[in-house]
């Protein structure tokens, strides 16, 4: 799919603007702090119903404005048009519409606009905390499988209920056996959803692995092989079980550690503690990889996610690159850009004209972003 047009008003430092995008490559030049990332954040807002940078709606409304509006029209791979309209309000709930129909739950939005965003923080995917990889997995899986998102929400809800129960019971000095009996109720809910979540995560990692390895090998020929593996926190998920058997085994595991949880006053196991690992030549990138390797590996992983979206949903996601080419070898960057441009719409923000200098793909459109103002260059 690709973005056709967008109009933006009251969003961060951006001057109200309207832009018609190229279905191939769109480049936004500008110095740091001029508004390039803000623009990409606005354009990607309908994909998630929130900022990919983790900002609150409040923060995205321009200083002095009460509301921000982003409207984006897209064409899907089968030729349909979709109009996304987003309203953000200071102190109020955000509002979203698809083709004029209000979107009441974020679950109904997930996967409608398929994008893959690579930004400076994405490098942390390889070397940062487990929650970043978990969150990438959850976002990726939610786009591929809407049922996954609902299961994830249910599982988180049950986990939060159990956490509240354990915390309050510990404070109040409640009878451990009664707290356990109540905690087991929530364990049933957690186990049922966790079994499906963990199976999905394992399958997803297996499908992503060869794709990421191939992309990494293209970016860095002659390098060691990249591997992506799932590290489930629950013992039960490492025994090759599935379906109801897996749910039963997870339930037994959760009930077994019940007394420890009651003593500690918090849940000690569950899919919320899962992790994934990126290995280069068998060595974990977390702690051992160079910054360049971590960046390439994270990029390969994100692009592999894009390929998976196409393989499973026949949708070509829009690729959004926010200032990510600066630390990569130039020849490799160009090859990567050309390969991506051949299959996807690209939105590239860069502070260094070098990153795209001399590259003239068909349909290229270029803008200068300065002080929040967009100016298309000839």
């Amino acid at each position: 799919m690709w973005l056709l047009e967008a109009s933006i008003e009251g969003f961060r430092n951006l001057i109200p603007s309207r832009l018609v995008l190229s279905p191939t490559v769109n480049v936004f030049h500008g110095g740091n702090g001029q508004g390039k990332s803000n623009l990409l954040e606005a354009l990607n807002y309908p994909a998630l119903g929130r900022s990919y940078r983790g900002a609150r709606d409040d923060d995205m409304v321009a200083a002095g404005a009460a509301q921000a509006h982003v409207a984006v029209s897209c064409r899907t791979d089968n030729g349909d048009h979709i109009l996304f309209e987003c309203g953000m309000e200071k102190g109020g709930p955000g509002r979203l519409r698809i083709d004029g129909e209000p979107v009441r739950r974020r679950a109904d939005l997930v996967g409608r606009m398929a994008t893959v965003v690579f930004e400076p923080q994405s490098v942390q995917l390889a070397a940062g905390a487990p929650e970043l990889r978990r969150s990438f997995a959850d976002q990726s899986l939610s786009v591929l499988d809407q049922a996954y998102f609902r299961r994830l929400m249910n599982c988180h809800r049950a986990l939060r209920q159990k956490a509240a129960l354990l915390r309050d019971a510990r404070r109040a000095g409640a009878s451990p056996s009664r707290v356990r009996a109540e905690a087991e109720i929530w364990n049933r809910e957690i186990a049922r959803e966790a079994a499906a979540l963990c199976e999905s995560r394992a399958t997803w990692a297996r499908e992503l692995d060869p794709r990421a390895a191939a992309i990494y090998a293209e970016m860095d020929p002659g390098s060691a092989c990249l591997k992506f593996v799932y590290l489930p926190s629950l013992e039960a998920c490492r025994r090759g079980l599935a379906g109801e058997d897996l749910a039963q085994e997870i339930l037994s595991e959760l009930d077994y550690i019940g007394p420890h949880e009651v003593r500690r006053g918090r849940p000690l196991a569950g899919p919320h503690l899962d992790d994934f690992q990126l290995l280069l030549g068998g060595i974990g990138l977390r702690g051992y990889g160079s910054r360049g390797e971590a960046r390439s590996a994270a990029l390969a992983l994100k692009l592999a996610h894009g390929e998976l979206i196409f393989a499973q949903r026949r949708v070509r996601p829009i690729l959004i690159f926010d200032d990510v080419f600066s630390e990569l070898d130039k020849a490799r960057v160009r090859r990567l850009q050309q390969e991506c441009a051949a299959r996807h719409q690209l939105l590239i923000a860069t502070a260094r004209p070098d990153d795209v200098a001399g590259w003239k793909p068909d349909g290229l459109r270029t803008w200068r972003v300065e002080g929040g103002r967009l100016e298309e260059l000839p």
Binding site: E5, Q67, G100, Q146, A147, R150, N154, A158, E182, W186
Partner: protein
Amino acid sequence: MDDRPTLALKRGAADAGGEFRSPALERLVRALARLPGLGRKSATRIALQLLRGAGDPAEELMTALAEARLHVRTCGRCGCLTEDDPCAVCSSASRDATVVCVVALPVDVLPFERAGFYRGRYFVLGGLLSPLDGVRADDLPFARLLERFDVDGVREAILAFDASVEGEATALYIQRLLADRDVRLTRLATGIPVGGSLAYTDEATLLRAFQFRRSL
């Protein structure tokens, strides 16, 4: 086809929620806005209608409120809202006392009574298990529910809770409580609504409908 994005979400300045010069009006709006389902905008509209509407709607509302506060109570047997204790359902000889529909809130009884097909009785829990909201098993009248089962010789209990995590957990808790009793325990089915379109059914509902499909 016109692809141009529109800014249809743009709202007028009047929506921003202004300050009233009258503290009394401001208090009224705030009190109304605390009611479920009402935002400040609707609260303001209702407040102005009450104060300025034809036929003194405020007086009518005050009388109705005072009467309702005086006469409406919860039924000592089932927990439904009623003016007579026990309520009409609990005291009716034509309702089957051995079948009990367990619901979370008094309002959940209304759709059953409107539909009119159900001939058993009710038991209102007053909420669902939710430690996040400070509701634990001890806070819900499970002991009274069991007592009711024993006294009335209940044969079947139908759990009619929301299809939420809390609804599932509460149902499971009751299932455990009744494990050693000879009571048939059922839950309402979830699936495609009558008259609903299969094409627009969300996947979670579809999955439930699929899992609990029935033989023909």
